[in-house]
Symmetry: C2
Subunit: 386 residues, 2 copies
């Protein structure tokens, strides 16, 4: 009667465990200045053009003449149009306005898209990976084929050995910071078309891409509209982790559009109007300029981490066209023992690679979303490891 897959899922979630260990440390050392460099949460405030738009939306709801209630479950059309115009058309991608669905954040859609598929079945997941792909698949009782990403293969997963129903891909990658070239991405789309698999493409970090050879969207690969759903977010692009807004593209050609529309109209009442008005302001000229500046700041933090750690002799990956720095731990440490070591000796909180999957063992993740002064302070403290 109960969902035994969900019931039997092990209890501890990576980020909860990090919080618990950090709290245990600060309880004993209340004076410690702990530097949180692990979690992928943004730290820069929202640009004024965005908060102005949200103030206006709040004011609309305060007055009878402008008050509004439920919006469309799939999101406001003006926001869907702005997304297409700015994020897709310049890349030669032309989704229909109804193929874009506004969400309350990528996390919800990445989880809920699982409902399009029958329970069970097969899924291919690169590892290390964002834990939610795995947990979501386990809750649905799916058989998982792991696609290991190691320094030997440049953290680029090989194609699955057995045909999966669903493939989760995330580039720029969380946690390794790996990016794919156009031809590498095309291989995945070709594989999915040949095997009738569906790719759920997590593009939450595309805004970190500067290199023109790196695709921002899976729809830059030929034929992707037949096999790929793309999940995007304003969280990292515009600092919306508290505001909650994202979007997902489900092309008609996937044969899944009608199902997703039906799912969303039944189990979702749309994202907050205020959040959607904030997201719309991201696409104004001032909004575009403001988020470019914020992203420049985070990219610079990524560079500081990468070069600082490299200078100290660490083996470092990612951090270019990506917000995450994937750092090999010194000989003799596991990723959790190095986490404990950094916490206890340097009051630095990183994210242990093992929390992202077996091949994450031996690595820790640093995040470019960390506060700049914390990054700089951490590098100073760490100079002692050298």
């Amino acid at each position: 009667m109960l969902n035994t897959y969900l019931k039997e899922l092990e209890g501890n979630y990576l980020f909860t465990e990090i919080v618990n260990r950090t709290q245990a440390y600060t309880a004993v050392h209340p004076e410690a200045k702990v530097l949180r460099l692990g979690v992928g949460d943004v730290t820069l405030p929202l640009p004024q053009v965005i908060t102005d738009a949200m103030h206006r939306a709040v004011e609309e709801l305060a007055h009878a003449e402008t008050f509004r209630g439920y919006g469309p479950e799939n999101g406001q059309e003006w926001l869907r149009r702005a997304i297409i115009e700015h994020d897709y058309v310049p890349r030669g991608i032309y989704p229909d306005v109804d193929e874009v669905f506004i969400s309350d954040g990528a996390g919800s859609d990445l989880g809920n898209l699982s409902e399009l598929f029958a329970p069970g079945g097969r899924v291919a997941i690169p590892e290390p990976s964002y834990p939610a792909y795995v947990d979501t698949s386990r809750m649905a009782g799916r058989e998982i084929e792991w696609l290991p990403c190691t320094r030997e293969n440049g953290f680029v997963p090989a194609l699955p050995k057995t045909r999966p129903d669903i493939i989760y891909l995330c580039f720029p990658n969380n946690p390794t910071g790996t990016v794919l070239t156009r031809s590498q991405l095309q291989q995945w789309v070709d594989y999915a078309r040949e095997n009738e698999s569906i790719i759920i493409y997590d593009a939450a970090y595309e805004c970190f891409i500067d290199d023109e050879r790196i695709p921002h969207s899976i729809y830059e690969a030929e034929g992707a509209e037949e096999v790929a759903i793309e999940v995007c977010s304003f969280s990292k692009k515009a600092g919306f982790t508290a505001v909650r807004c994202g979007y997902t593209v489900v092309p008609q050609e996937t044969g899944l559009w009608q199902m997703w529309m039906r799912r969303q109209c039944t189990k979702f009442n749309g994202a907050s109007y205020i959040s959607q008005r904030g997201a719309e302001a991201v696409y104004t000229p001032e909004g575009q300029q403001a988020i470019r500046e914020n992203l420049r700041h985070y990219k610079e933090t990524a560079r500081l981490f990468r070069e600082g750690l490299q200078d100290m002799g660490f083996e470092v990956y990612g951090g270019e066209n990506a917000p995450y720095i994937w750092c090999r731990v010194p000989e003799g440490y596991t990723s959790w023992s190095f986490f404990d070591y950094l916490l206890e000796q340097y009051q630095i909180v990183c994210t242990p690679g093992a929390g992202f999957g077996r091949s994450g063992e031996g690595y820790v993740r640093f995040s470019a979303f960390s506060k700049r002064e914390d990054c700089e302070q951490a590098l100073k403290r760490l100079k002692n490891i050298g």
Copy 2:
């Protein structure tokens, strides 16, 4: 491979069909002043104490010193505490602060709670009912036992004939406006305890209850914490249909708490911080007074509908301690043909009862959330039917 239950679900959703027929009418009669009296969407603007709180939250996000990112997946603790203090403690109910989960609205949780249970299984659903219970159950491939609510049984469903895994109950009821007494509710809790069924209790309209004999919460029934999940919303209570915030109580004693926490931490990143600050303001003294005034307005609209329709000779149910008026259609009409008749002859949009289930045939629903002037105008137009 695909979820065939979802794929094969018939396409048209009740409210979409109403919108389509209304648009078809207005396309041909652009001059018509159509009165929308069907949909359960609020129409009064948000009280200033709530919009002030949301403005402050937006401002917090605009400045580095007060900026914040992700909140707890299960919601801000200050909001969970305010809910317990105001909505439960005065009724002798003492949920633990972690048993309250903040959502982005009741719609999401009513849908997603289905994931706690294995696919298939049995569910009991009173009918007529809110369509999402049915669609959600069908998407999970569940066998449905219908519990007809007719004028013969006073629109109070009988207990199921066969033990269900899940029972959906909603009181004050949508669409019939029926309320249960404490002893009637206790029968359901006793049944669920004897049969180890779980009740998903939709309490979205509890704020319409004035009669002290009518329970606001299922936890007013003895032992309900063992078998009931209660889903609540700020949508109707405080006009939050655009703002998106609700809450769900999952008691530890149900054995489902851990599973729901795991589900939410994996597939949900919390409700908007701005929305949660708005919800918190609902519980200030000014907030409580403001929403009481708005509710008084809607309750008066319900009374006008009820008495106005009764005076014209209609057979009318609900509308007391409930926002919905359940009106029997005249001899010779079906609920959809009466919908068309009202639209074409009087430019009045109601909600056809058949859209809520087989026993809804022969009724239409009017909503107390309609604009007062539209309600009054509609009653004037309808005097001609008499």
